[in-house]
Amino acid sequence: MIDFWMHPAAILIVGALLLPFMQNPVVRRPFLIAIPVLTFLQVMVVNGAPGTYGVVSWMDWMLTFGRVDNLSIIFGFIMSLMCCVGTIYGLHVKNPYEHMAAWLYVAGSLGAIYCGDYLVLFLFWELMAFSSVFLVWFRKRKESQKIGYRYLLVHTAGGLFLLAGFVLRYHATGGDYSFGQLDVDHPTLYTYLIAIGLILNAAVPPFHSWLPDAYGEATVTGSVFMCAFTTKTAIYAMARSLAGFDILIPMGVIMALYGVVYAVLENDARRLLAWHIISQVGYMVTGVGIGTALAINGTCAHAFAHILYKGLLFMGTGSVLYMTGKSKFTELGGLYKKMPWTFVFTMIGGLSISAWPLFSGFVSKSMIVAAAFGDHIMWAGFLLTLASAGTFLHTGLKVPYYIWFGKNNCSEETWEKAQDPPLNMMFAMGIASFLCLLIGVYLPFMYDMLPYQWAEYHPYTAYHLAETLQILCFTALGFFLLLSKLTPEAKISIDLDWFYRKGGDVFMWLDRVVFQTVDNWVGRIWDKVGILPLMTISKFWSWFDWHGIDGVVDGVARGVRGLGGQVRRLQSGQIQYNIYFAATVMAVAIIAYVFA
């Protein structure tokens, strides 16, 4: 490409690097708003001209940074839009490095979306992992460090699966590193490795435990970013490379239900939302597995809608956490009097995720379910519908009920502190709420960006409305009838992270007690035993002196013979003179030789 092509992520990266110098309050806020908005505008510019740009040579390879096509357009759009919303939500955060981490994280996501080959994908994949972990660490609690550490290790492992897959594929295909559809009908080792790398980031069980772990702990702003980018970028990558991979259908369905089950047990509002990310991403994974045009459209649409409503939900519960310092149901309740607007916004998010008519989830989620039924995978269709009842149950009912209504478990201090959050947070929630409604009401806004325009879908049919309303209304009935069973309990639920948490402890024990001890013993033995061969050898080789081992080497060989305690004498003062003179002799000899 001769024309200069500006990568949207470049704006964010440059902005992030300049941020620490923008601490003057007059400059800070405009700058914080300007950079994401500029990025968003640049995404619009870039999306206007599909094609391949930004091809750079690196070692033996041509790396593609800018591939703009039907799939990257919609994801680029929503990611940069969410970056604007998230930054506005975090506008009050004074620490420039938290913004920096968030922006680099988004830059990683945008880079992964627009890249055209696996090497660049891996670059941005790692950028996402290494920058997002700071959003956990910035919470600055004692637990934050350990949770971030686990998060980093898990994502590194995921990245390595991906890398191993890329390399195997690179070799097996004779040098193909382009990022495109894999031959999923004839999967080989590398297909599975790449798939594991991708589904780990999409939090598909059994690789999901990092998500509730980290998202429940991230900073208030951090989790708003995290809930949008990591899993959805992974969904993008899967839609691009694994569309139609059958095994993903059962995995996605299990995932959708798994998240629901753990959400029932969860006591922390933000962790509950995290479990519902897993549940909702399950729909998208199923969609990728089905792989038809409608299913991929549905996956993209649902990712699009999900980023906004889940961001909104995290903003709502984040506001509660920000204002009161609490996020557990057993420490909240009855807050509608104190935080009514937060309630309204969260409710809009809850209704969107529950797929109420006129809200965004209604027009996106149903597309995947319809694709499942359309492909005659009835069990998947029914189970996903079942999971959506669970979604409404928790996010639409349980979260609002136990925070804003229900039994008031607030301490006096919590109650005193509770009120609607600062204006910028309210504004960000307002934008997200508006967009959730816009998507649900004005279909072309999102539908016009879907990758396969010819696969038409009409959500507002009488039958679909009737079906959805029946399920939702009777779920609500069930909720109120079984309310007593749902009372939150101050417990945590053991999940598959048990294995690596306990496994890590076992490894560290092994490391400390076995490996290190053995290593120390080997060292000690050699200290004692090694002297003997050295002395023998130096005696034995002394005859070799004349053979050309020059004075310097030889002198010390003889010197070390008396190591047993004479080293000190050898050391204290003389050796440098020995060496100095030896060096002088050598230098003189060389000079004499050169000029002779």
Partner: protein, 85 residues
Amino acid sequence: MILVQLIDYLRDRLKYVNRVCYVVLAAVAVWGSLVAYDSHHAHTAMEKWPFFWSIFGFLACAIIIVLSKWYGHSGIMTREDYYDD
């Protein structure tokens, strides 16, 4: 503010609110069954049974709550400082 007042107003008349809700529920169920009866949108024959999705919704909710709680209480839920030692 108005929103809070509205909520308080409704909470004071919870009985009436509940009654309205039951009427809405019944209406939705009946209307849904009528729509499903002659719709080509239904994917399977059983969806044409009366109140199919209503029952589905209610059972889904009940099953999720009961099964999850059973699963949780079978040893999965544990004290909050489980990992701390």
